[in-house]
Amino acid sequence: MKILLITIGFYCLAVTGMAQEFQLKFPATPGRRIKLENLGGHVRVMGYAGTEIMIRFFPGGNRKIQTTTTPVNTVYALGTDNTGVGLFMEKDTGEISFKNVLPLSMAGDYLLKIPEKLLLSVVSDCHHLKKLNIVDMQGDLDIRICHAVTIENAEGAIVLTTIAGKVDVRMRLLQKGKPVSIISETGNITLTIPPDVAADLRMGSAAGTVHCDFPVLPGNNKKTLQGDNQISGRIGSGGAVIHLQSLSGRIFLQKSKP
């Protein structure tokens, strides 16, 4: 519901003419990656079955980025805005990257629509990205951020590290060979997976508790890592890799509802 409201909010802003847009064709061929670096504010990434990358920028504090009619890029202290949405773009055949160049005083929110099969990499320090929301991505996700993250309907591998904030990941599909590895230092981790999965499991929290909907069977490996709140085993016959670790957060591994 919250996500729906946020999305509606984004679109309302876009309709009122506040949003600035960038669009580029970048089809998702195997191994192709999009990298987002230090995008500010709230970032929502939506996968879709298309070939173009569409970026909408919603300026914070109603301050629109000054763009020129001539093909001259705006230069900031962090770099050159060659997209018109406060980002510096670099592109080669295998990867396209967008790096924030706006000062913190001009930071806004971003809505991206990208081909669902692209590999997505999101990196941010603690000053920029405040909240990340990823929906309907089939490609692998590689995320290193500082705050909360929500991922819905993911199908690929997830490698995620964050420091604080809640991590809420809902997998539409869990595949062997596509590991799910999540580290959150202080935030709770909730991983929701289909009820019929078979997975090899490692999860634990040094100071938090671990909760699991699934019966965890002993793993094949007898000499497993032990310790406080460290759980090692398998769900069903095992297969897909799940690693969940937190320092002080709670961990929830739950079944998705049909």
């Binding site: 690929g156 591998a157 596509k178 230092e185 040094a206 032990q226 670790q245």
Partner: protein, 254 residues
């Protein structure tokens, strides 16, 4: 006249008992050195043949041959009657012989399959090791985690592989990959080299979650050499408070 015709003339003259060749052959021989050489060789050969002595075959040999021929002709007219008992014995022998061939084939196939299965197992082990060594440099952290995770399924990994895992634990920039390396190495933590690698990694590691995993692993193994690393962690003001508490508890328990 050419050389061939001259040679033929020499052979004809010998068969007719003539000592002299025809005029044409003589003329050709007189003017052809090659033909003279060939004629000399031919005459030498013919002289050797003339000197050959043919010995007559013994009379018994001829008699034996004709006796054998008569016996064969007689048996063709009166075929041998095979008794029923002899036929059954022959059939049984054939069945036993064929069954023996089948059994031997089965055994050979079974051994071949066993050898092939062992070869596949060995190859799979090799493939896994190759997979890790290849994918460990992959830019995708998911691929690196998957490769590291494959090592856990190996009962006796190659020492080179263990070295690579320790390097991953010490050097990989992604903390999720390093965490997967701790999980994988925990299986082989009784190995001295692995134990040393884990202690070295704890001294360098700054990611709190992985620090805790390493502390728990080494403390559970009653590894006393970890004392120095634990003291460093406790005294480091940059270390997370929870990690310091866990390190202190484990240090007291050692």
């Amino acid at each position: 006249m050419n050389c061939e015709e001259t040679m033929a003339a020499i052979i004809d003259a010998r068969e007719k008992g003539e000592a002299v060749l025809s005029t044409e052959a003589d003329l050709h021989l007189a003017g052809c050195a090659a033909c003279q050489k060939e004629a000399a060789e031919l005459r030498h050969l013919l002289a050797e043949m003339d000197n050959t002595v043919f010995k007559p075959a013994p009379a018994a040999l001829g008699k034996g041959f004709y006796d054998m021929l008569s016996a064969e002709m007689l048996s063709a007219d009166n075929p041998v009657k095979i008794s029923r008992r002899y036929a059954y014995l022959s059939a049984a022998a054939c069945i036993i012989f064929l069954a023996g061939i089948g059994f031997a084939t089965l055994l050979i196939n079974r051994n071949t399959n066993k050898v092939a299965a062992e070869r596949v197992t060995v190859n799979n082990g090799g493939e896994k090791e190759n997979l890790l060594l290849t994918h460990i440099q992959d830019p995708s952290s998911a691929m690196r985690i998957q490769a590291v995770n494959e090592v856990e399924s190996l009962s006796q990994p190659d020492p080179k592989l263990v070295t690579v895992l320790i390097q991953v634990l010490n050097k990989d920039s992604n903390s999720n990959v390093r965490m997967a390396a701790v999980y994988a190495l925990s299986k082989f933590a009784d190995d001295t080299r692995v134990r040393n690698g884990l202690i070295g990694a704890l001294e360098k590691e700054t990611e709190p979650v992985i620090q805790v995993l390493l502390i728990n692993l080494l403390a559970d193994k009653k590894e006393e050499r970890v004392t120095h690393a634990l003291q460093t962690i406790i005294q480091n003001p940059a270390t997370r408070r929870q990690v310091q508490e866990i390190a202190g508890n484990k240090l007291r328990a050692l």
